[in-house]
């Protein structure tokens, strides 16, 4: 039964982190896809940094920041939130930071794939920036949102190093699936480890399968429209010959 609560905690963490990330990453990815600012490479690298850093490095710095003496920890305590280190909230913040690039990138790619033209068309049809985003960019980038959500979800479920650094191993609070598997193996409880590891394999596989199906569907749709533009291009060349 302890395992069930672990699964529940992991799911809760993944859902919350995915939700928060979609809220943060959407404007970030939109900005990155549209901006001509000189800050773009800087912000772009910062957003990708958690992807290449070892989780322990990220976890170490976060631990310092979130602990009662760290900047964020002091602030959290000041507003009456209590210490963040070794709490569920702290783990959620850490996971969100570590998973950020996995959500920003598919969104940014999806926004960039739309191209400038539909957005220009919307502007000439009197749609302001907000209407253009919700009525044109968002529906056209929908497959990207699915990919981003699934990536974020799966990556959070698989989180180990960062959770261990920042959350430790507290049952019901920070003891998530990957850590529980580690505990089982340490205790030679291979049977339980099997169950959890197998479940995780399955969930991750289904998640990735979904992403691939969505992308495959999207690229097939694109091919149909591309074929049409190929014919018009041909007409264009013929006209110039």
């Amino acid at each position: 039964m302890a395992d069930l609560s672990v699964i529940w905690l992991t799911l809760k963490l993944a859902l919350i982190v995915t939700f928060i990330l979609l809220l943060i990453a959407t404007p970030l990815a939109w900005w990155l896809s549209q901006t001509t600012s000189r800050l773009k490479p800087l912000i772009g690298s910062l957003c990708t940094l958690p992807m290449v850093l070892p989780p322990t490095v990220l976890g170490f710095y976060l631990l310092l920041l979130l602990s009662p003496n760290g900047g964020i920890g002091q602030f959290a305590e000041y507003i009456g939130f209590g210490s963040l280190a070794f709490t569920f909230t702290g783990v959620a913040i850490a996971c969100a930071l570590h998973t950020l690039p996995f959500v920003v990138q598919p969104l940014q790619n999806a926004f960039e794939a739309i191209g400038k033209r539909p957005l220009e068309v919307a502007a000439t049809l009197r749609a302001g920036p907000i209407a253009t985003f919700w009525q044109v960019a968002f529906p056209l980038a929908k497959p990207g949102f699915f990919s981003a959500a699934i990536m974020g979800f799966c990556h959070t479920i698989g989180e180990f190093g960062v959770v261990l650094m920042i959350g430790g191993n507290i049952p019901g609070e920070t003891r998530v699936l990957s850590i529980e598997i580690y505990n089982h193996v340490e205790a030679m409880e291979y049977q339980q480890a099997h169950w959890l590891a197998g479940t995780m394999m399955l969930v991750s596989f289904i998640g990735l399968l979904l992403i691939y199906c969505i992308n495959y569907q999207a690229s097939r749709n694109k091919k149909v429209t591309n074929n049409n533009s190929v014919t018009t291009n041909k007409a264009l060349t013929e006209q110039y010959l």
Binding site: R117, V121, T124, G128, A131, V136, P139, N228, T232, Q239
Partner: protein, 359 residues
């Protein structure tokens, strides 16, 4: 009359644009020029899609850009319609929702273009529930034109709307554009590098090359210009605005009226009183001092020589003949004939027209 005034400047190093335009606030104005001449940049600047430095744009009494006063109205606040080279329909919306995308943002009391009327003119009624991917190129472009018009714009900007279409689709859409112009009184600015489209649609033309304005004026007037004439067509020609006067099926002919003059052309399939434009090559016009009685050429117009110009071809002259209050005909004849007929300004003359190109 309200006018459209523009002054666009930009210097990209390899491309330098400096164009000052004043276009009539009605009818179709064509921006004509080769690819890369800067005409699309001008159009995008008019729409606000591009913010050129040190530029100015106004329509009637509304200033949409004035860099000196730091005025720049963003595209979504300009009352324009814009038709891109590719139809660029929203692929996540069906035809009806594409049409409504701009229309729904216009307050109902400001909608002066009726959706049913537009669907009739552009034959869209059967397409409304279809997704854009299932439409042909011509259908898509018609939807794009309707979509732009349904925002009830003060100005319709069209960027080579036909250039991505093959020849048969072009001739399918051109009549729609002509009808639109007659049915709605929205001024249009039409970018094109195709002489045929411009000759058929434009009332006013601005010729642009290498980022500079070469010439701007009423179409028929500009076409008489030597440099423009050769740029437009292979050799000089004159443009006449005619009306179908009567059909003569027994002779397989249609009689056209040009002011009070008459021209017979091989039968054309247009109702009586419809307006059309025709072009007469200067080489297809010969001149007589008296109306020829025993000639195979039936089309003879009386006129007065108003100018004699040199021609590109050695030993030839271009004779400008005034045939009515507003229309001028060009004839290309040899220098020897000019001397033999003793032609000079003011000479009365009869022009025999061998063939007429209906545009």
């Amino acid at each position: 009359m309200s006018r459209i005034n523009a002054h666009f400047q930009v210097d990209h190093g390899d491309f330098n644009l400096d164009i000052k335009l004043s276009l009539p606030g009605q009818g179709v104005s064509a921006l004509f020029g080769p690819s890369g001449s800067g005409k699309t940049s001008c159009l995008r600047a008019m729409a606000g899609l591009e913010k050129l430095p040190n530029s100015y744009f106004s329509i009637a009494d509304e200033v949409w850009q004035d860099s000196e006063k730091d005025i720049f109205v963003p595209p979504y606040q300009r009352e324009i319609g814009y038709v891109f080279q590719e139809a660029s329909l929203f692929k996540h919306l069906n035809v009806r929702d594409n049409l409504n995308f701009g229309r729904q943002r216009i307050a109902p009391n400001k909608r002066n273009v009726d959706i049913d009327h537009i669907c009739d003119i552009l034959s869209l009624n059967a397409l409304l529930d279809r997704p854009p991917a299932s439409l042909s190129g011509g259908e898509r472009q018609r939807v794009a034109i309707a979509r732009a018009l349904l925002t009830s714009p003060k100005l319709l900007l069209m960027d080579e709307p036909l250039s991505a279409l093959d020849h048969s689709l072009k001739s399918e859409i051109l009549p729609y554009l002509e009808n639109l112009q007659q049915a709605l009184s929205i001024p249009m600015i039409y970018v094109s590098h195709s002489p045929d489209e411009v000759a058929r649609l434009a009332d006013h033309i601005a010729i642009i090359d290498k980022g500079r304005l070469l010439k701007s004026g009423a179409l028929a007037q500009v076409m008489l210009d030597a440099e423009v004439g050769t740029r437009f067509y292979d050799g000089r020609s004159s443009m006449l605005f005619a009306k179908v006067n009567a059909h003569q099926p027994e002779d397989y002919l249609t009689e056209l009226a040009i002011d009070n003059l008459r021209l017979s052309v091989p039968q054309i399939d247009k109702p009586v009183n419809s307006k059309l434009r025709c072009r007469i090559n200067a080489k297809d016009v010969s001149l007589c001092l008296t109306p020829a009685q025993y000639s195979s050429i039936g089309n003879v117009l009386a006129g007065i020589v108003i100018n004699i110009e040199a021609s590109d071809t050695l030993g030839e002259r271009i004779i400008c003949i005034k045939i009515s209050a507003h229309q001028t005909l060009l004839a290309q004849i040899t220098y020897a004939s000019t001397k033999r007929l003793n032609l000079r300004q003011g000479s009365p003359i009869w022009a025999q027209i061998k063939s007429v190109v209906i545009l």
